[in-house]
């Protein structure tokens, strides 16, 4: 094994290395640790200037209870779910089809359309803002979840198609040819041959898109306003404005808002990383 494994180097070096790394790690996560600590402190601790010490009492239930029962937070969370899940399904379904078409068929314009999707992937979304806002308003979808979902699906399709096409290209083409020779209809090839093979790509993409959409703030601000349709990213800013200086509630709110994508990441870590790697390297 090269380079020399850390276990075989000198004792002091080993100790410093093993000591420094966790220290660096704690520094890296210090902002998160601080917020987590703040969120379980009772309000008294802040008036008595006990900011960094241990909580005088565990007030986690109280603080989180307040966030869930006395604020608009559950509403925002539900909105986020209702925006994110349909978007994930729509974007994955659309891109599975387009990826199939671009990956399997050779036809005139194939490359051109593929590059259109690549380009769409890189377009800065600011440039879309004014027309999309006006379009959404004209369609009567301003300040609705449907408006946000429609736009997200359309915008994410660029990236997803790129991803799916590259994945489908890497599948053994002989399988499809064999199916064709057997006289299987094209839509059956898609449904019964290609789609099952795409499961890992679909899982990776779904996890990735879930975090992208959940974390979107820009379009939430541009296309919606108010608690009836805004997702949690926009909600948390108004929540924090409402509880300015109530540090324990602000922290608890921030944790609640950040938790779903983080939980998703830890549960689906393998898919998440596979997705990022596939999307970036190819």
């Amino acid at each position: 094994m090269f380079p020399t494994p850390i276990a075989k180097t000198s004792r002091t070096w080993q100790l410093t290395y093993q000591g420094l790394l966790p220290f660096a790690l704690i520094m890296w996560l210090l902002p998160l640790i601080a917020v987590a600590l703040f969120s379980i402190k009772p309000a008294v601790d802040f008036t008595q200037a006990n900011y960094w010490g241990l909580p005088s009492a565990f007030a986690g239930f109280e603080n989180y209870g307040k966030v869930f029962l006395e604020s608009q937070m559950p509403r925002y969370l539900l909105n986020s779910l209702l925006i994110t899940i349909p978007t994930v399904i729509g974007a994955v379904a659309l891109s599975a089809m387009t990826g199939f078409a671009l990956g399997i068929y050779r036809f005139r314009g194939n490359l051109l359309i593929f590059f259109l999707f690549v380009a769409g992937n890189f377009v800065p979304f600011q440039i879309l803002m004014v027309p999309v806002r006006d379009l959404t308003r004209d369609l009567g979808l301003y300040n609705t979840k449907t408006g946000l979902v429609l736009f997200h699906v359309a915008f994410q399709t660029g990236f997803c198609t790129l991803f799916m096409r590259n994945f489908i290209r890497a599948l053994p083409y002989e399988l499809i040819e064999a199916a064709r020779v057997e006289g299987v209809a094209e839509w059956r090839i898609f449904w019964y041959v290609v789609l099952p093979l795409m499961k890992p790509a679909i899982a990776a993409l779904a996890v990735l898109i879930f975090t992208f959409i959940w974390n979107d703030y820009f379009w939430a601000v541009v296309l919606t306003q108010g608690a009836e349709s805004q997702p949690v990213t926009a909600g948390i800013t108004s929540f924090n404005a409402q509880y300015r200086a109530a540090y324990h509630l602000m922290s608890a709110g921030s944790i609640v808002a950040a938790l779903p994508p983080v939980a998703m990441f830890f549960l689906m870590q393998k898919h998440f990383i596979a997705g990022l790697t596939l999307g970036a390297v190819k």
Binding site: M1, F2, L32, V35, L78, L82, P86, V118, K282
Partner: protein, 326 residues
């Protein structure tokens, strides 16, 4: 519970619509328009196969056209009109904007962001990838470092507000300064010029995880023999890293770098949530947000400037994709 039911119905209709479209359109093509029967069965099969890809492509192309191609053109046209959109003023928005100090500040700051954030994220990512490569608990360390990536930019900004808070009892920075003997709290976000870097740190914090994941996959892919040969030839660890490993993953480093660069040009959340663009921290995307509800002409002009900055990277990426295809 009605919104949940509503959502479920939307999902069912959406998925049903997709499957239905896909199934029915293929059926119609095969059975009705070009049936593989009769005199020219062979020609019909060929024709059907020429049309079929477009059936798969149509929904996505339609969506892309409506929400991407049309807005890009629409934005450019809109940027040539005045504030209320009823008078054509050519490049008037651009000339007034370029002359304005706020725009120049935003442009300069954005330049700093584009230099600093990708460089720092890639460097730290590479460092972490290398240091945790052969560690027994390396995967846990990686997960933890990667965690900020899952948090939204707004969420991260709110968390970092605690770090930068003016109150020495809350703000970590000021707490450390007081521990070291300072007596006056310092609002680091008002510290002209340097405050930009304090904001950039947040994005670096988020993006390092991304760089690390990609680069550590690349490091794993390096053939062991090259490293072995270098060590037998007497190379020290630094030489191995910089002269053997880095050159071999240069392609991946460039990909990571450009991906983060493009991302930097889009991020407005951090500045918007932290300072609102005050204290000379404006960058182009947040500068645009300032005009969003007041002056669409100006806002679209800013957007177009961002688009032009991204364009070379975009073209370069497409060329790369093309090369790979050959």
């Amino acid at each position: 519970m009605s919104p949940i039911v509503q959502g479920l119905i939307t999902i069912i209709v959406g998925v049903g619509g997709c499957v239905g479209y896909f199934f029915l359109s293929n059926l119609v093509l095969d059975k009705v328009i070009f049936p593989p029967r009769g005199d020219d069965a062979g020609r019909n099969i060929n024709r059907a196969n020429m049309v079929r890809p477009w059936l798969f492509l149509f929904p996505a192309l339609f969506a892309l056209g409506l929400y991407l191609v049309y807005p890009v053109i629409g934005s450019f046209v809109r940027s040539l009109y005045n504030r209320s959109g009823d008078e054509f003023i050519g490049f008037g928005n651009y000339t007034t904007m370029f002359a304005e100090e706020g725009f120049q500040t935003a442009f300069f700051n954005n330049f700093l962001w584009v230099i600093f954030v990708p460089a720092a994220s890639t460097f730290l990512g590479l460092l972490v990838a290398q240091l945790t490569d052969r560690l027994s608990w390396g995967n846990i360390a990686k997960s933890l470092i990667f965690m900020p990536m899952a948090i939204s930019f707004v969420g991260a900004s709110l968390i970092w507000k605690f770090v930068y808070a003016n109150d020495p009892d809350v703000g970590i920075i000021n707490a450390i300064r007081f521990a070291l003997g300072a007596t006056q709290p310092l609002d680091v976000l008002q510290l002209s010029f340097w405050n930009n870097f304090f904001l950039m740190v947040i994005l670096v914090w988020i993006q390092t995880g991304f760089a690390m994941v990609i680069l550590s996959a690349a490091l794993r892919g390096i053939p062991e023999e090259t490293v072995e040969a270098a060590i037998i030839d007497g190379a020290n660890p630094f030489q191995v890293f910089f002269k053997i490993k880095v050159p071999q993953i240069m392609g991946t480093i460039v990909v990571v770098w450009t991906t983060i660069t493009i991302l930097v040009l889009k991020v407005f959340d951090i500045v918007y949530a932290m300072t609102g663009g005050n204290f000379d921290t404006e960058i182009l995307p947040s500068y645009m947000m300032d005009y969003m509800f007041r002056d669409d002409g100006r806002a679209t002009a800013v957007a177009f400037v961002i688009m032009i900055i991204v364009l070379p990277v975009m073209i370069w990426n497409i060329q790369n994709a093309r090369k790979e295809m050959r």
